[in-house]
């Protein structure tokens, strides 16, 4: 809940980067680049499938994906039991790691991985989910996205894009620039918040991939104003996004009630929510994010004198009703 009782200090927590993407998209290539170029930093890698990591001095731990539901009946509260154990033991060691990278299987749903950082209090107190990085193969991703699935079966490629904080469009040498532009437009319609980077052989600027956390969230929400009012998104996609922007100060109790109700009733459909909020009686910005129904907020820098206190929220998910979201959020303004 957005409270100020105990604002967790991001600096003391070890950042964790989650790498998702289909088999062959270039995850392992990116991982090897990170380990080579970040030589000297202590990085622990948790892997779910055999990659060919070419670096001997990184600690590589193999994980056996073990997903379970919490006992409160919400299917969104699925977490990764194997990660809780591995991360818990890593953090007990005297040698602290500078960063931890979790490489998921090609078909992994990123939600349980992300939710683990909210649900387990031991993990949450010592580690912060820095970013979900999704690597896609520019030539093949559309085929995966357009695959029709039986009712109730998720399209993993779509989920991996919807959950991403950064999307690396890899193997751009294999498609022409028109196709690339079209592809990026398509990706942006699914997830307008993720930073998009083009790459060949995963040759991205690693500063844009590691350690981007809260900074990234604040910047991601400085969206193109056109996006906030635009209504001409492609409606043929099952996953879209809605951004709302409202000036004024939010009443904390009303906001908590609204978010609690909204996220728990639409938890399955709302993949991610991010926002910057102006809370009544607090002169700091509050940065907010949620994975399905689990949410977390941090007090950010104070609002500047020349800055309008404006609330911005972005929802990524299915069956989002913009008018209803705007109306119900407006009711939270004090």
């Amino acid at each position: 809940m957005p409270t100020d009782d105990d604002p967790t200090d991001l600096e003391t927590r070890v950042p964790v980067t989650v790498l998702t993407g289909f088999l062959g998209a270039g995850k392992t290539t990116l991982l090897n680049r990170i380990l080579t170029e970040q030589h000297g930093r202590r990085i622990a890698v948790i892997e779910n499938e055999f990659g060919e990591i070419g670096i001997d001095d990184a600690l590589v731990i193999e994980a056996d994906e073990e997903i379970f539901e919490m006992n409160n009946g919400c299917i969104c509260c699925t977490v990764r039991g194997d990660l809780i154990r591995i991360l818990g033991n890593l953090m007990k060691r005297r040698d602290r790691f500078d960063a931890i990278i979790i490489e998921t299987t090609g078909l992994a749903d990123p939600a349980p991985v992300a939710q683990t950082f909210f649900v387990d209090e031991e993990v949450a107190s010592q580690l912060s989910l820095d970013a979900i990085i999704t690597v896609i193969d520019a030539r093949h991703v559309l085929t995966h996205l357009d695959e029709t699935r039986p009712e109730g079966i998720e399209n993993e490629a779509l989920e991996q894009i919807a959950f991403a904080d950064r999307i690396i469009v890899n193997k751009t040498d294999l498609v022409d620039s028109d196709a690339l532009d079209e592809l990026e437009q398509r990706l942006r319609a699914i997830n307008p918040l993720a930073g998009m980077m083009r790459a060949q052989h995963a040759n991205v600027d690693l500063d844009q991939v590691l350690g981007i956390g809260g900074f990234d969230l604040a910047r991601a929400l400085d969206l193109d104003p056109a996006f906030l009012t635009s209504t001409d998104h492609q409606h043929d996609l099952s996953v879209t996004s809605v951004a709302i922007e409202l000036p004024g100060e939010v009443d904390l109790k009303r906001l908590n009630d609204w978010l609690g109700t909204f996220l728990s009733t639409q938890a399955v459909d709302v993949f991610r929510t991010k926002g910057i909020l102006a809370i009544r009686g607090d002169d700091r910005r509050h940065v907010f994010q949620a994975v399905h129904m689990l949410f977390d907020s941090q007090a950010d820098r104070p609002w500047r004198a020349d800055e309008d206190r404006t609330n911005r929220l972005v929802f990524i998910g299915r069956n989002l009703d913009r008018a209803e979201l705007e109306r119900s959020f407006a009711a939270c303004i004090a």
Binding site: D64, F68, D82
Partner: protein
């Protein structure tokens, strides 16, 4: 109140400490991979081969000076004085739990989703079909017939004396179990859970009850020697559930306080009068029937990772987050003001 008798180094987070049944030897395991056997005054007796990536669990046979140690390297070793060491099981997954049956005849081990049971000095270990999730803890029934496995979906019980591989009982419950402890009376089994609850079943009817409302996942859990109390470690208190009479259903537990940074382990003294908790603020000792404030704190300011009482004594063995191993003696509460919480008023 508490005298530190000795101190030594184990290099990294101490994952487990335990005394043998007679109190002649103790053992300690660390995430550095080191495992040390010591005498009752802290004298080093043996340094076992290291477990790469860390030693995770250890247990002494209740009937013989026989130690089982396990690690993230997937190995289980036994050690016997004066210095016989043997690898008894080797698995690709890390070993999370080892437990001897009360009669000392069986050694149960959990590697990933596999339960392995070794009988006596058998050359081979019997393995059971893969469980639905990783084995997080093991607990034997009082009569040594059944071993309970903690994993997702409630405890499952196996009878290694039988041919069949199937579980002989399963207390079906949708939750992720982290600890499993059987009451010394043999009547109850309690599980500490990821979802911040404690679940208790009556053996063998399976009647159950649940304690909820904790702010943390439950990994510190202990029965008193009389089986009357169940102690549950939380972030800033240890709650004590009273199983006397009709049991704790519908009651509020007593809260033992005096720390703020989490409980890692709880254990009752052999006489049942004292409760010790390894916490982020040191090891606290309570006279739990009297007050709710601790009567002593061992190593205040040190984060204690684990603690064990020496059988037949009031000596404590303490492991810390940074790898210290301490021996301490509790000298009673003489000279301390009476706990105001328990004073009778006229």
């Amino acid at each position: 109140m508490v005298d530190i008798l000795w101190a030594q180094e184990l290099d990294d987070y101490v994952t487990a400490v335990a005394w043998d049944a007679t109190g002649d030897h103790a053992a300690a395991a660390s995430l550095s991979g080191r495992v040390r056997v010591i005498g009752c005054t802290g004298t080093p007796v043996a340094e076992l081969p290291a477990h790469p990536l860390g030693a995770t669990a250890l247990a002494w046979s209740p009937r013989a000076p026989r130690l089982a140690v396990a690690g993230q390297d997937g190995r289980v070793r036994t050690w016997e004085p004066p210095g016989h060491t043997q690898v008894v099981w080797e698995q690709p997954d890390w070993i999370g739990a080892v437990a001897w049956s009360p009669n000392g005849a069986w050694l149960a081990m959990g590697a990933g989703r596999i339960l392995g049971v070794r009988h006596g000095d058998a050359e081979t270990v019997r393995t059971y079909p893969r469980l639905p999730s990783t084995v997080t803890d093991l607990a034997w029934s009082f009569d040594s017939r059944r071993v309970g496995v903690a994993c997702y979906g409630g405890p499952r019980w196996f009878e290694p004396g039988r041919e069949a591989d199937a579980a002989v009982a399963h207390f079906d419950w949708k939750g992720s179990l982290l600890r499993l402890v059987v009451a010394p009376s043999g009547k109850w089994v309690a599980a500490g859970n990821q979802d911040r609850s404690v679940h208790v079943w009556r053996l063998w009817s399976g009647d159950d009850m649940q304690m909820t409302g904790y702010p943390n996942k439950i990994t510190a859990l202990a029965w008193s020697p009389s089986s009357r109390y169940l102690a549950v470690g939380s972030i800033a208190d240890v709650t004590l559930w009273d199983f006397a009479g009709r049991g704790p259903r519908g009651t509020t537990p007593k809260a033992l306080t005096g720390f703020e940074h989490g409980t890692r382990a709880v254990t009752f003294s052999p006489d049942g009068d004292l409760l010790a908790a390894a916490t982020g603020d040191g090891v606290l000792v309570w006279e739990h029937r009297r007050g709710s404030e601790p009567v002593a704190v061992v190593a205040p300011g040190f984060a204690a990772s684990t603690v064990a009482w020496r059988p037949g004594s009031r000596d404590l063995l303490v492991g810390t987050d940074t790898g210290q191993l301490l021996g301490a003696r509790f000298d009673g509460t003489q000279g301390r003001p009476a706990d105001p919480g328990t004073q009778a008023t006229a």
